[in-house]
Symmetry: C2
Subunit: 547 residues, 2 copies
């Protein structure tokens, strides 16, 4: 499984603080136009020199960094009873990832999270790696930029940025999520009871990285979740997130009332030791909020939220994510897994946006943020969902205020509910704006949202729509690297350098397909939209030349 | 050629002031949910009782209204020499529209524009028609709304709204463009030298109306422009616009320096008498602006702008659209053709947005607005193009200030240039925001923008992306009818009324296609995205029922 981009070469930029090599993509343009170096999420798949075998997994880039720190130890066996049972089950041989990497965990009494190091004033290799990825283009062009390894450190220390970097996922390239940095996009994949298996999910994961997905959530709810995830984690060069309650519910055969802290706890440990980098946990949805949700047009539309709401209702008990939150943090900190505090009460319609239910939960997320930080656990805050445009800024402002600046991570939001089949667009409109106002990461939505499971083309459509939204926000926020690429593409168009234009674009294959569809010759000084006699740019050029 | 929508019936709402019947679409939902009445741009094509024959054209709805006013007269022949020559050319029999309607024009000394009537305090049938279309849903539900026939009149009188309604296009249903009303979308079609002919263009025009296009620009630059336009105007139930300089340039064989006021004047009259409702005229681009444009990253990207800039450069003369603007207005007022003041210096890249060139031209458009208004000619102001998000509001504010509140009509804008092949999305992101801040009409962009000529599927993708942007803006602006439809759809989803959900959506066919793709059975209480065990809405419902 390889990835290639036109006119592009894989380059590695050396660190100045640490002995690291940061993979990036250089887009070579027709001389004398300078090459453009862009952020690259495709990992070793786009390195022609590296043979990737998905049965072996990606190179374990961060393994030596983690070992060198000396504050973790390799365990003799997996800690989760469920994990051990799966490994011992001979019937799973066909679906199991062929290699076994024993897990690492913090030594007793040691803190190993990126937040902890940052607070100690330490710039880790992960921090430098993330900074170089963001800023290499500016460095090469000598453009002043605020992004430095020290900025990454200080933002992580303050809780305003997160580097999801489980010690058990050394295959992932470090990246940083925070409002001071480039806007990131998350993609969701995952099998359901109605869909297919392992191969297709790994292929979708790599596909998502090819188009620019920065992180990946595995939302599988089908069979063999444990094994599917192992394949995905070992072969994904970006951080991987999950919603552990999905698997926990599977373990009790879908009976919500049967969920227990013990099953959930074992699931957390199982996934920490596999290498999941961040967990969505709906710990802010309390019993007291349920009456607020009942008044809504569309109730609870978060899957995790509805599961825990159902559990509270049926058991008559408080949300155990909330009551056990300190214990949860104590597990996560031993692997440096970040918590992504889920918004179980995210609005499911325009009518319900920014309502009492949503805001009541948000206030609890703010408290939990401080609890997590007291354990040096990194925190993301999840957000909506559905928000009309005039309520978007208020939403971000309120989140940043309530949650002490923790990075906001939103699903869209959809700016209208009126276009099922086009929710990558309805939500890209909201996502671009919420990112502009300070949301650090936007979770993609595909055209199949609300309707069915996305296939590969849907994943591509969703990723590109979100790369557009993220880049538009970066431009509006004044990130110089964003402007460099935008300008280079505009100039290539004006110069009729079609090849350069497409190489710089988010989806060179689609652009070329549409271009050659009209007229299948090579470079030409007009496009089929206007034809040769009505090309404004051609006319302008002749005018400029004539005077 | 017929249009049908699921669960929908064509209804006609009677006027209270005038004897008019306003065509609308009623979407019937499963009882006890109330039907939703929506704005309908599909004209007689969606009325099962009316047989439309494109060789005869649509019913001439407004003909009796115009005649009754008694201030126009039918001419004995077409005034344009070119038009007469085309009619006399036997070689064109095969491409010519079969019927001939002699043109009407204002009687000597009479004012016949909607602006003139509005300033006299007269509510015309056109104004009442436009008001009913916008507001019927609120009327039926008893929801307070500010939209009334009197508001339409007063906004048209003030120049803040435009009703494009050439007396020679009585087939078009009246509609209003202004910031106080629902956001409208324009679609562009048109053959080029490299594309096909009449049938395909008429089909695209009707197709665009099916999906919700409010107005239609025929940008043809190919052969038989005159005849193609006749077919389009006679068969289009929405206002039709053109850029007359394209045809004028064709008449001088594409030789820019050969363009003259005489050729252009005859072209204006030719098109006024055919029934074009609004003309894009690049009258604000002056010689003094050309040095500003030369400093840009992407120069001049407007076709009309580059033509007139080329003419000025080659002839060493001032823009004749500007020097002859009073004469132009004197022609337009005799047919009630609105002028859409083109932005020949619209930025063609993010770098060039809101620059000196753009703003210098805008100041001239402000002067021309007042000139046109002094002739009672209705005015639209065209806008960009490419604008990063943080400059969008300033752009609208400046336009409204410079141009005295005349309706703004923008092409997108694209919020980034980085995604050729996806410019319906890059621009819908900008369009939704510019519309929210007061732009009255947004001109769609298709996925083929910058790459090639749109086919039918591209037109559909562009229209739906823009209907999304317009509706999102209407929601943000607080238009009650927008909220009604959005809420009805959200509620249908939450109730698992899939049929109702799709009927209410912007593209029922696409939604159904995606839904049945996953699992081809009928109504069910979950979707394939989550499967039956993980459906949040299903879980919520059981929770609400259980407590």
């Amino acid at each position: 499984m390889k990835i290639s981009y036109p006119s592009s070469q894989k380059i590695y930029v050396k660190g100045k603080i640490h002995d690291i090599r940061v993979g990036m993509r250089r887009i070579n343009l027709r001389k004398p136009n300078a090459a453009v170096v862009v952020y690259d999420t495709s990992g070793a798949y786009s390195d022609a020199e590296v043979a990737v075998d998905i049965r072996k997994g990606l190179p374990r880039l961060r393994a030596p960094w983690v070992e060198r720190r000396g504050d973790t130890e390799q365990l003799a066996a997996f800690s989760s009873a469920y994990c051990r049972a799966r490994l011992a089950d001979a019937g799973l041989a066909d679906v199991r990832f062929p290699l076994t990497h024993l897990p690492r965990r913090a030594k007793a009494g040691r803190c190993i999270t990126q937040m902890y190091y940052a607070r100690q004033g330490v710039i880790t290799p992960e921090m430098e790696y993330a900074a170089i990825r963001e800023n290499q283009q500016c460095d090469e062009l000598g453009i002043p930029s605020h992004i430095t390894p020290e900025l990454v450190r200080s933002e992580v220390a303050a809780g305003r940025a997160v580097i999801p970097a489980n010690v058990n996922h050394p295959e992932a390239e470090p990246m940083v999520i925070g409002a001071s940095f480039l806007v990131k996009i998350n993609t969701n994949i995952g099998s359901s009871a109605l869909s297919s298996g392992v191969d297709e999910e790994v292929e979708k994961a790599v596909w998502s990285c090819k188009w620019g997905g920065d992180t990946l959530m595995d939302l599988s709810t089908g069979n063999n979740i444990h094994e599917t995830r192992e394949w995905i984690v070992r072969n994904t060069p970006v951080p991987v997130g999950t919603v552990p309650i999905y698997q926990a519910l599977q373990k009790v055969n879908g009976e919500v009332a049967e969920l227990s802290w013990e099953v959930y706890r074992d699931t957390l440990i199982e996934q920490c030791e596999q290498g999941v980098d961040y967990f969505t946990i709906h710990a802010g949805l309390l019993r007291a909020h349920l009456p607020l949700a009942r008044r809504r047009l569309t109730g609870i539309v978060s899957r995790g939220g509805s599961i825990i709401a159902g559990w509270m209702t049926q058991r008559g008990e408080e949300n155990f994510f909330y009551t056990r939150f300190e214990e949860i943090c104590d597990i996560l900190r031993q692997y440096d897994v970040a918590v992504s505090l889920g918004d179980g009460l995210r609005p499911g319609s325009i009518r319900d946006a920014n309502d009492d239910a949503q805001l009541a939960e948000l206030a609890v997320l703010g408290q939990l943020t401080q609890t997590a930080w007291s354990h040096n656990v990194q925190v993301l805050i999840e957000g909506p969902g559905h928000v009309p445009m005039h309520k978007i800024k208020a939403n971000v402002d309120e989140q940043l205020r309530c949650c002490h600046g923790a990075p906001f991570y939103t699903l869209g939001p959809l700016a209208t509910d009126i276009a099922p089949g086009y929710d990558h667009i309805t939500s890209a409109i909201g996502a671009a704006q919420i990112a502009r106002y300070g949301t650090a990461m936007i979770c993609y939505v595909t055209p199949k949202e609300h309707l069915g499971l996305p296939n590969k083309e849907d994943v591509r459509a969703g990723v590109i729509a979100y790369k557009i939204a993220a880049h538009a926000a970066d431009l509006a926020k004044g990130h110089p690297v964003a402007q460099v690429r935008d300008d280079a593409l505009s100039k290539a168009r004006f110069d009729f350098r079609w090849k350069d234009q497409f190489a710089l674009s988010l989806d060179p294959e689609k652009a070329l397909e549409y271009y050659t569809d009209g007229c299948p010759d090579g470079e030409r000084d007009h496009c089929t939209m206007c034809g040769p006699h009505f090309c404004a740019m051609k006319l302008t050029k002749s005018m400029v030349t004539n005077c």
